[in-house]
């Protein structure tokens, strides 16, 4: 059963790598709040994931199109919680 992982921590926070190590093949990762900085953080390779648009725009990252990262809104985040019975917040 796929898990939805929602992380709000900056990529240099110790919990960020712990989250990446917990991702199974069929899991889904969403970056919210400070976590969206991972889109431009050299030291941490990012798997395919979603990023919350409001947080991306605030931090001026919308031009940083990264292969495999899809922008979503809060409505899109709700839809992801519909399709995943297990949700882990990091």
């Amino acid at each position: 059963m796929p898990t939805l992982h929602i992380i709000n921590k900056a990529p240099d926070h110790p919990r960020f790598p712990a989250c990446l190590r917990a991702l199974a093949e069929d899991d889904t990762l969403v970056l919210i709040e400070n976590a969206v900085m991972a889109l431009v953080f050299e030291s941490l390779p990012l798997p395919p994931c979603y990023a919350l648009r409001a947080d991306v725009n605030a931090r001026a990252l919308s031009e940083s199109s990264v292969t495999g990262v899809k922008m979503i809104g809060y409505a899109g985040l709700v839809v992801l919680t519909e399709t995943h019975q297990r949700v882990m917040n990091w």
Partner: protein, 138 residues
């Protein structure tokens, strides 16, 4: 696209206003889940999240008042909202019952938040379809 049947959500907020984005992210999510046709069972404030329930927050006029926005939303949607009593008392958030019990000079819990114990959270884990945690920034 077939949308799933209506789900029920509990949102736990454990980050404080200003010190985190938890109140803001949680409110945007709460509004979106309701627009999405789902039910918001309850909002549970835990740890530093209880600061959101302080009736005395007085931000500058050009800043948002998260306590007020949440109060309005909870009352409009008739959503039960709980501040965990142990977290609240230690952080100086009291309702009138606790004010009286501990002989404190005032109470400061915002409407419509009520004090309750972790039992409410345990019940949420058993009854809501989804339970999300809006956490501190660090």
């Amino acid at each position: 696209m077939t949308r799933s049947p209506a789900l029920s959500y509990t949102l736990v907020i454990s980050g404080a206003p200003y010190t985190s984005q938890a109140p803001q992210s949680a409110l945007a999510f709460a509004k979106a889940l309701i627009s999405g046709g789902h039910k918001l069972d309850r909002v549970f404030l835990y740890g530093d999240g209880v600061y959101l329930a302080s009736s005395l927050v007085t931000p500058p006029s050009d800043e948002v008042n998260w306590t007020q926005l949440w109060s309005e939303f909870l009352m409009q949607t008739r959503t039960p909202a709980v501040a965990c009593i142990a977290s609240a008392l230690r952080r100086g958030i009291l309702d009138s019952a606790e004010q009286t019990r501990y002989e404190q000079p005032a109470s400061n819990i915002a409407e419509p938040f009520e004090m309750a114990g972790l039992g409410d959270w345990v019940e949420a884990t058993m009854t809501s379809s989804r339970i999300l945690y809006f956490l501190p920034t660090d």
